[in-house]
């Protein structure tokens, strides 16, 4: 057996972060940060009584996550683990977020901006055992796991290879390989009597390749919708019929996935599947209380609720409108959410009572007239929910990236290709262009399975679940 000292230098590796709890709703979500800079990284986003770097190992710290502009993002508890007494044997900080999935994603984003890198699937475990944390019997068990998983991964990669995504990536990769060859030709065979590639044409082709990579990258948002579902927040006054709409949507759908018990916030979440996409509908506590309380606070709370979702379903009462007009509260909330990039769908309920108010022409396709009681218009609403998440993002491409690992690889490829393009435009010699082009190729190769030597270890353990 080898001496572990040989691997001590592994602790010099970069700092990685990921959400360690399974995706979806839960009381808390834990973000794990590991690596030599994990304390410094955490301190950049965490505001508590004292800095985490200065705190002893194995202590818990209550504090806030605050973004660059000083805005409060979430209340968290940070746990400190100093090397080697942590899961990975590295310095580790675990941040327990309370704000739900979207907020956790946001916090993770901030941590990544603060200097950590998104962890590969299984990377924490990889580090744990690279650093000697696991003993032989544990390691052998892990070995079996890797093996069984790789069989599955092999089959799934075969499936992917026949799929659109791989074809698309292979296409880009082949083109980049051609470009790289053209560059190498003029470097290694400059004395030969051959025609060397024209810089302008190289630039055009590289730009095209980058466009494809960027397109795939942006499809990840859609891919995520398929994979992780859509969060829909329902807001409205208590008598507007929120719960009856929720029930109507659920009734229409025979395949109710699950009924998730209320979380810390005492909200009600139900899941409904529409055309294979999971919509998680959450009835907010926010507006329920606001009718009688101070208006301003009500909107703030509803906004906070809505910010955790992808879609805000604003339920309005046709009959109330008939007598009282639209409460300014609604338009205010709509404006605020719209500005935050959250899609707002307006649902006029009680069509059975006040048909005179409908049907009107829906503006922007996001206004629906329904009767939760009779079920009228509910089908249209279901379609509306679907098109709200698909139509806007899918664009022209039918290829969708769903895996975070693919997204990471594409993002690194895009970064390298951008460097490469910049170098090409600056008129520098081919070997500088080639350097980043190769890095881009290697990154794409991680997806198609044409793995290049340096990245192998990072890919090996991708069969593990993230954050384990």
């Amino acid at each position: 057996m080898l001496n572990l000292d040989v691997y001590l230098n592994l602790r010099d590796g970069d700092t990685i972060a990921a959400i360690a709890t399974p995706p979806g709703e839960g009381g808390i979500s834990v973000i794990r940060i590991s690596g030599q800079d994990s304390f410094a990284v955490a301190d950049r986003v965490f505001v508590g009584k004292s800095s985490l770097s200065a705190s002893p190992s194995h202590t818990a710290h209550f504090g806030k996550i605050v973004d660059g502009e000083g805005n409060y993002v979430d209340e968290v508890v940070a746990l400190t683990f100093k090397n080697p007494n942590s899961y990975t044997c590295e310095d580790v900080v675990e941040v327990s977020c309370h704000g739900g999935y979207i907020v956790t994603q946001k916090v993770l984003g901030m941590i990544l901006t603060a200097g950590a890198r998104a962890a590969e699937p299984g990377e924490f475990t990889k580090r744990a055992f690279l650093n000697g944390r696991l003993d032989l019997s544990q390691a052998e068990a892990v070995g079996d796991l890797i093996h069984s998983k790789s069989e599955a991964a092999y089959r799934s990669s075969l499936r992917q290879l026949s799929g659109e995504l791989s074809r698309e990536i292979k296409g880009v990769r082949d083109e980049l390989l051609n470009l790289a060859s053209l560059l190498e030709l003029e470097l290694d065979f400059s004395e030969e009597d051959v025609e060397f590639a024209n810089r302008k044409s190289l630039e055009g082709r590289l730009t095209d390749a980058l466009t494809v990579v960027d397109g795939l990258l942006s499809s990840y948002a859609v891919g995520r919708v398929y994979k992780e579902g859509v969060r829909v927040t329902i807001a409205g006054k208590p008598n507007a019929g929120k719960s009856s709409i929720l029930n109507a949507l659920l009734r229409e759908d025979r395949a109710i996935v699950s009924s998730i018990p209320g979380t810390t916030r005492d909200t009600i979440s139900e899941s409904v599947v529409i055309d294979g996409i999971v919509f998680r509908l959450t009835d907010t506590a926010g507006l329920r209380e606001t009718a009688d309380v101070i208006e301003r606070q009500g909107v703030d709370r509803a906004q906070k609720e809505a910010e955790q979702g992808d879609i805000l379903l604003l339920v309005l009462d046709l009959s109330e409108n008939y007598y009282n007009g639209i409460d300014p509260l609604y338009s205010k909330l709509e404006r605020i959410c719209g500005a935050a990039g959250i899609k707002v769908i307006k649902v006029w309920n009680k069509l059975d009572i006040h048909r005179s108010g409908a049907p009107r022409l829906p503006d922007e396709g996001r206004v629906f007239y329904v009767s939760a009681l009779t079920g009228e218009g509910i089908e249209a609403l279901r379609k509306g929910l679907l098109s709200a998440v698909l139509a806007a993002d899918l664009g022209e491409t039918s290829v969708v990236v769903t895996s975070a690992r693919h997204r990471d690889a594409l993002s690194r490829a895009g970064k390298s290709l951008r460097y490469s393009l910049e170098t090409l435009r600056s008129g520098r010699s081919g070997e500088f262009v080639a350097m980043d082009l190769r890095a881009g190729l290697n990154a794409l190769g991680e997806i198609t399975g044409e793995i290049t030597t340096d990245d192998i270890l990072n890919n090996i353990f991708s069969k593990f679940c993230i954050g384990k």
């Binding site: 230098n9 052998e140 009597d193 460097y419 600056s426 350097m435 793995i451 030597t453 340096d454």
Partner: protein
């Protein structure tokens, strides 16, 4: 013949053998060099040139390790050029035309002058192994000579067969007999051999060339020597000349295809794709109307001219007739036809990164026997084999150059892990860390090794240390020093660069592509700073600072890549590790790993046929 016992025996006195013998002797070993012809020591079998793209880097590296090739090339060069000068520094490569005879004489002089090296004109026909260790050789004259290590660098001589047209004759080189017996002897020990092919063009008489019809290619006005120990090259240079084949040439060659040993299947060995014969070129690139022919003089005092680009094994009369259609060669006198040569090699997965064989301790392979082509590739392996043979005899950790450290490292790593099916030649694109493996910094990368093994004169290493000191002084200086617009704007204007409107760091200015540090430091403004100016008076110091500053962003990114790479390469796999024990390895991976016996996880991951899943399984077993 004395019944002497040697520490190291070197078979072959070509470019690999020379470096191997000299390195081992300088490390204190008694060395016997066995060559079939003493006059053939250091003979350039093919083109009379050293260096070229990526190969020039190899020469610089050999030199930094304390080898001879660069010094011999400097002493006997007749034309020097720095290739790729219009491109970035990482792909600059020195190349020299050499006096073929002169090179060989100079090489022989150096070998003969070396203490501890005994030269024997003979042939090694058999090797003796006891308990898996090399113990001695048998020579053609029937003498048995004991040794502790044997380095075989036999070039194209192992069962060599030469072809010109359908006539074939045995031999390793024009008019030289082949080495018979050694291949069989090695096969008996369990080694596997293969067959490769290479070729050489005809030689012609300079006096029969019409130079008015060819294009002159002069050497550089400021010739750069190869060796860090050569101060400068002052001799006059000789020009080469460029001409082209044409439609008629190709027609005549085609007419001889029925007598081509290649196309008729007589030649079985695989030839290099990057250095094809002329007949290969016109078949594979039929649409191409002309091919370049370089007329390279073989020396200052000879009329022999090497017809580079016209390598062929067609019948002599076809070669002759075809050449006469080439402008400038209408009345050419052919002195000797080109030929192809087939020879045995031992697929290189059978050696370790030290070039010691897996099967026999103390037996080393270097050069064409490992499937490479080229003098520089051979010499690079020669010095590594020589050092490791000496380390084996004298004791010491094996010497392995990493891919991130040297082209020689890339070369050997590729051979061992990827193998080769054609004669392997170095290219800059084979090196993933090309930006760091430059010809200009080979001394800074590798002299520490040459120094450690005492292959470098002490003053040479002292000079490097001084150079490093100057580099560090000047680097700090350019990083810290700010210049006011008035001090440099006239210079910036003169080179068409944007002028300054406020103070700017010197390092920022050098980052501009058109600004040269050497020119910048000429400005009056810098005169008062004596220490950096002293550093700046050395052009190689300025060059290093300039390159490292100008390309800093790229270098930093490359260094990060290297760090990642070295991490995996530092994870050792214990010698004698039994892959059969690891049940979850795929069958192919187990086979390949058992064959190559990698010394690190990084190396294992580069072996073709070993998948990431296999690596993960391996890591689990090794790292429990």
């Amino acid at each position: 013949m004395t019944e002497k016992k040697y520490d190291v025996i070197v078979v072959g006195a070509g470019h690999a053998g020379i470096e191997a013998a000299l390195a081992a002797a300088r490390m204190g070993c008694s060395v016997m060099m066995v060559t079939m012809d003493i006059a053939a020591i250091g003979r350039m079998s093919c083109n009379p040139a050293i260096g070229g793209t990526a190969k020039g880097n190899l020469v610089r590296e050999i030199d930094a390790l304390g080898g001879e090739m660069g010094k011999i090339a400097d002493a006997t060069g007749i034309q020097f050029r720095m290739l790729n000068r219009s491109k970035g520094p990482a792909v600059w490569s020195p190349r020299a035309q050499n006096d073929r005879e002169g090179y060989s004489i100079e090489a022989r002089r150096r070998v003969e002058a070396q203490e501890n090296v005994h030269i024997l004109q003979d042939m090694v026909t058999d090797v003796y192994v006891e308990n898996g260790e090399m113990v001695g050789v048998q020579t053609g004259t029937g003498v048995r000579v004991p040794c502790k290590a044997l380095i075989i660098s036999s070039g194209t001589f192992l069962n060599g067969v030469m072809h010109t047209g359908l006539k074939s004759r045995i031999g390793g080189r024009f008019n030289e007999p082949p080495a018979i017996g050694l291949t069989a002897s090695l096969e008996k020990l369990g080694f596997v051999s293969g067959r490769l092919k290479t070729g050489t063009p005809p030689r012609v008489d300079k006096r029969s060339i019409d130079f008015s019809k060819v294009e002159e290619q002069p050497g550089d006005p400021d010739p750069e020597p190869f060796s860090f120990q050569t101060k400068e090259v002052t001799r006059d240079q000789v020009s080469c000349f460029l001409t082209y084949t044409n439609h008629d040439t190709h027609e005549l060659l085609r007419n001889g295809f029925d007598r081509s040993p290649m196309f008729t299947g007589l030649i079985k060995g695989i030839g290099p794709r990057y250095c094809p014969s002329i007949e290969d070129k016109i078949v594979r690139f039929a649409e191409k109307e002309r091919h370049q022919i370089f007329l390279e003089p073989e020396g200052r005092d000879t009329n022999v001219v090497y017809v580079n680009g016209f390598s062929t094994s067609l019948p002599a009369e076809v070669q002759y007739d075809a050449m006469k259609t080439v402008p400038g060669l209408e009345n050419v006198e052919m002195l000797r036809p080109g030929y192809a040569v087939e020879y045995d090699f031992f697929p290189p997965h059978q050696v370790k990164l030290t070039l010691e064989t897996q099967l026999v301790k103390g037996l080393f392979f270097a050069g064409q026997i490992n499937g490479t082509s080229g003098y520089e590739e051979a010499a690079g392996q020669g010095i590594v084999a020589g050092i490791n043979a000496a380390l084996r005899v004298k004791g010491g950790d094996p010497f392995v150059l990493r891919r991130s450290e040297a082209y020689i490292g890339v070369l050997i790593d590729d051979l061992v892990n990827k193998g080769t099916s054609e004669p392997y030649r170095m290219f800059t694109s084979r090196a993933e860390y090309r930006l760091m493996l430059r010809q200009d910094n080979a001394d800074r990368r590798l002299m520490k090794h040459g120094h450690k093994f005492e292959l470098l004169p002490p003053d040479v290493y002292d000079a490097l240390r001084k150079k490093e000191e100057y580099i560090s002084v000047l680097t700090d200086y350019v990083r810290q020093k700010s210049v006011p617009p008035a001090a440099v704007n006239s210079y910036l204007e003169s080179i068409g660069s944007t002028i300054l409107s406020e103070n700017e760091k010197v390092s920022q200015l050098i980052k501009r592509q058109d600004v040269k540090l050497s020119e910048l430091l000429q400005m009056e403004f810098f005169r008062s700073d004596s220490l950096p100016l002293e550093a700046a008076s050395h052009k190689h110091v300025v060059e290093q600072v300039e390159i490292e500053t100008k390309y800093e962003g790229y270098i930093v990114r490359q260094l990060e890549e290297i760090k990642k790479f070295e991490k995996f390469d530092s994870m050792e796999i214990p010698e004698g590790f039994d892959y059969a024990r690891v049940k979850s390895l795929s069958t192919e991976a187990r086979e390949k790993l058992t064959r190559v016996l990698p010394s690190s996880i990084g190396q294992a991951s580069r072996i073709s046929g070993v998948s990431p899943a296999d690596i993960s399984v391996l890591m689990v077993y090794l790292h429990g």
